[in-house]
Subunit: 118 residues, 2 copies
Amino acid sequence: MLWQVDPTSSTALHVQVAACVRREMASGRLAKGDRLPSAKEVAAVLDVNLHTVLRAYQSLRDEGLIDLRRGRGAVVSTSDPGGDARLRTLVAELVAAARLVGATPADLTRLIESEFQR
Amino acid sequence: MLWQVDPTSSTALHVQVAACVRREMASGRLAKGDRLPSAKEVAAVLDVNLHTVLRAYQSLRDEGLIDLRRGRGAVVSTSDPGGDARLRTLVAELVAAARLVGATPADLTRLIESEFQR
DNA sequence: ACCTATTTGTCCGTATGTATG
DNA sequence: CCATACATACGGACAAATAGG
């Protein structure tokens, strides 16, 4: 992958790094299930700080483009053919809503269990 | 505002700080248009790093809860429309979807906790 | 118009923790 | 046990936007 960033640009470095990954995905050079190079590697290649790459990866994760896990690395998100794609979407929405009102996981568990019994 | 964080907790500090703000908003002590204390102040009060507070503020901005601008500070942008009603609706949807795929309450709890951790 | 202080934004560096293989 | 890789927190430095005198 030939990535490139411009340190003098007015756009933030981590945004540029994220854009690199999106380009690779758009062009098909990165397909679902592919593993991205480690943040450490990318940082070395682009001569930027490790945090800058990690921040870019995390923003991609927030967009749902990649799956990011400790010890494993970054993997392009799969379409998840199993039926639980909707489940995870709902969970994400629920957690977001819970955060808005300061509800804890325990609160949600209680709500869910009472709902399950109906 | 009496904010408090637990450095020994397993949940990240910046998540706790963001939760503090959400609680204030949910309780009505922070209303639309109100200005949040500067990140520097919060950092001093909570005895955490400035960056930790800034990260919390930025995540709140990403959620659309506050407006964040250099030199000005953080201003509440919404008055938390939603509340518990939306939470219960989402729980009902989630439970319905879980039944379809045979997921148990324990499965949902696990999913929710991992989602909360992010 | 100018200067200064404040406040967020970004980047770098270092250290430690945690999950994975 | 150990190496890898992301996660978080702290600290320092500088830049950019804003507000006020």
